[in-house]
């Protein structure tokens, strides 16, 4: 029995250290951000940096939460939990309205101010009672990109979808197809999230469908391996290549001429602005009168230098 007690003591001490480290910053205003991203999704690093910077500048406490596996039902629990801890505001995505609107509405009704960012639409944000929506409407962004590609003479494409389980992903592809004025059909593939699998599936698709004129990727997770796949097939710079979102490799590929454009939804703003908005609202009662579109912004080779410098950190 003695060793049992010893083990307990050790674990308690270890735990104490962890808690003390992160509870150091006690503030009068406290905001919680809940995202739908799994732990491994690198893109959300920019969000976390933006959130931290916003918190630092406004001198408020900010916390970031996400479902470890990206399971939206778990995310609903996290929102409920965030509400139970009674913060001044919750900043969250609305990745699946069916699952998330209940908990979000409950949080709003208990007196917590909510801002919807990233996934979702202005209409949905209003429906759940959020203060505002800050983000890039997915379908519209895809549609705008499709129109741009159509202007460049594209008539067929491959959409590399690495997070097919979320409706927003398909909307991007659907919007792009509609922007081109063609059927989506079988042009969207479920690539999974493993880099080598993505690379191989892209190669397999392009080998099987050599007439494909363009490739659309939905973020660094699918773009980076696709760049490698095109390199290997000798198609880099030859095939029309557009992508959603930015990252270190994507920026380099734009510079190299492999990627024609990247759609930047400017995630930094999606995390930074809500903190600023909420803090000012709670301190001075001022609130912008409308939703804020953080994107789409097209990044091409012309405006790369600043983007490159900040890629993966704030861009």
């Amino acid at each position: 029995m003695k060793s049992v007690i010893r083990k307990l003591a050790v674990s308690t001490i270890a735990a104490t250290g962890l808690a003390a480290g992160s509870a150091a910053m006690a503030e009068d205003l406290r905001y919680v951000m809940v995202s739908h991203a799994d732990d491994a999704d690198a893109w959300w690093n920019v969000i976390r940096n933006g959130l931290a910077l916003g918190g630092e500048q406004m001198d408020v406490t900010v916390e970031y939460r996400n479902p470890p596996t990206g399971d939206l039902a778990d995310m609903a629990r996290i929102i409920e939990q965030a509400a139970a801890s009674a913060p001044h505001g919750i900043i969250t995505t609305l990745a699946d309205p069916d699952v998330l609107s209940g908990p979000i509405r409950a949080a709003v009704d208990t007196g917590i101010d909510v801002i919807i960012i990233n996934s979702g639409t202005p209409e949905l944000a209003r429906e759940v009672g959020a203060l505002m929506y800050i983000g890039q409407p997915e379908y519209d962004a895809g549609f705008a990109a499709g129109q741009r590609a159509a202007d460049d003479g594209i008539t067929s494409f491959l959409c590399v979808n690495h997070y097919i389980a979320q409706p927003a992903s398909s909307e991007r592809c659907q919007g792009f197809a509609d922007g081109l004025g063609i059927e989506l059909g079988n042009q969207m593939i479920d690539s999974g999230t493993d880099p080598s699998e993505i690379q191989n599936r892209v190669m397999a698709y392009l080998n099987a469908n050599p007439e494909t004129e363009a490739v659309l990727t939905l973020g660094p997770t699918s773009a980076d391996p696709t760049i490698m796949a095109l390199d290997q097939m000798g198609l880099a710079g030859d095939i029309y290549f557009g992508t959603f979102d930015l990252g270190g490799d994507i920026v380099q590929a734009i510079r190299d001429g492999v990627i024609s454009w990247g759609i930047d939804q400017q995630p930094f703003l999606q995390a930074y602005l809500p903190v600023i908005v909420l803090a000012n609202y709670h301190r001075f009662g001022v609130l912008p009168g409308n939703n804020i579109n953080s994107g789409p912004g097209f990044v091409t080779a012309d405006d790369l230098d600043l983007v490159a410098e900040m890629a993966g950190e704030f861009r």
Binding site: T12, A73, Q81, S85, D109, T110, A165, P167
Partner: protein, 371 residues
């Protein structure tokens, strides 16, 4: 225990009653639960974790783990694993969604049909394991992929999307749906809210109603499953067969225990539990997604192992597994209340798992006298 005639072995130490009472499979988990609660009372006591809303939150999450842990525990005691639990959750949810929304059949038909399908799949897994003698690890791993694949394929093919919503509308007025998505004790909580004992909504359409409006059926199911499984396992003939099948299948067969049937039934129970989980989730959130239940199989197994069950089978306790699930749920949600960075959750989980396994090994040595 008076001794008549026979000579007691003088080398068997007399053990105190306290020690006998303490040394049981659940001990590690009981110690863990106490430690976890003490920890959070100290570090998150005033954070809202122990207000009604907070309690409901971690209880619901724990109840989810409990439901799948019960199935996993019984199966593990019977000497097998099921890695397809997580995929089964996604599959069952999608099945309900497709049948009720896409096919527009009544929700109760969708639920019953889904239970039938899932339990049949569980029986199939079990039959393959028993017939081929292959490790259940591999067979259920195959089903992990098969089921997840179908869960993405069907909605993608039929509905061109991977999340199917609108189940809440279909479930309105259904007689079976409230058994999974409903809440009990509504009037009691309303009264508590009126008395000002628990918090009420401050604004919106539900202003004045209590924030906690009842106990979700999820929690009721969890309690029901734990009690039933515990009684079956410890108090019945069948329970003895479960232990025997996992302890030594050959020895059990020698004395006429229908090992194959026991194991297949346990696979079916696991599928049933996954299905209960999925149905509750779908009825609560109103939608089914292709990514639901990812990695839940491991979470179930971790809860069971924290609860003192032996990975090789033949030993364990449903109560222990339930406590393991509670530890899991409380830690996962509680770290948030304590303000700990969420990525450290896995670190915590690993540490707890390690301590639990070491402690449980020690307890088991005392029980079985192995050296």
């Amino acid at each position: 225990m008076s001794s008549t005639g026979a000579v007691a072995d003088e080398r068997i130490r007399k053990t105190s009653r306290l020690r006998t009472a303490l040394v049981r499979p659940e001990l590690g988990a009981i110690v863990g639960v106490i430690a976890v609660f003490l920890f959070f009372i100290v570090f998150a006591g005033d954070s809202g974790m122990f207000n009604p809303q907070g309690v409901l939150n971690w209880s619901t999450v724990s109840a989810q783990f409990v439901i799948i842990a019960v199935g996993a525990c019984m199966l593990m005691i019977a000497g097998e694993f099921d890695l397809s639990v997580g995929s089964m959750i996604g599959f069952a949810g999608m099945s309900i969604a497709i049948i009720s929304v896409t096919l527009a059949w009544p929700v109760w038909v969708a639920i019953l049909l889904t239970f039938a399908i899932c339990i049949s799949i569980g029986a199939l897994t079990g039959t393959i394991v028993v017939r081929t003698g292959l490790p259940s690890f591999i067979v259920s791993l195959a089903f992990l992929f098969i089921l997840r694949g179908f869960t993405i394929f069907f909605p993608q093919t039929i509905e061109r999307r991977t999340i199917i919503g609108g189940i809440s509308d279909r479930a309105a007025g259904d007689w079976l749906a409230p058994f999974f998505g409903g809440k009990v004790g509504g009037p009691f909580f309303a009264w508590l809210g009126d008395q000002g004992i628990i918090a009420v909504f401050e604004r919106g359409t539900r202003a004045g109603q209590p924030v906690v409006e009842g106990i979700p059926m999820l929690i009721v199911w969890a309690l029901l499953l734990v009690v039933m499984a515990h009684i079956v396992l410890t108090k019945t003939k069948f329970g003895n067969w479960v232990f025997a099948s996992g302890g030594d299948a050959q020895a059990a067969r020698y004395v006429g225990v229908p090992v194959a049937r026991v194991k297949i039934l346990m696979f079916m129970l696991t599928a049933f539990c996954a299905c209960v989980f999925a149905t509750c989730q779908v009825m609560e959130f109103g939608s089914a997604g292709a990514d639901r239940g990812l990695l839940k199989e491991f979470e179930a197994i971790i809860a069971v192992v924290i609860g003192g069950a032996l990975l090789t089978g033949g030993y364990g306790s449903v109560i222990g597994a339930a406590l393991g699930a509670i530890i899991f749920g409380v830690v996962q949600q509680g770290l948030f209340f304590a303000g700990v960075e969420s990525s450290l959750f896995r670190v915590f989980l690993g540490v707890i798992l390690l301590f639990a396994v070491i402690l449980n090994t020690y307890i088991r040595r005392i029980i079985t006298g192995e050296r």
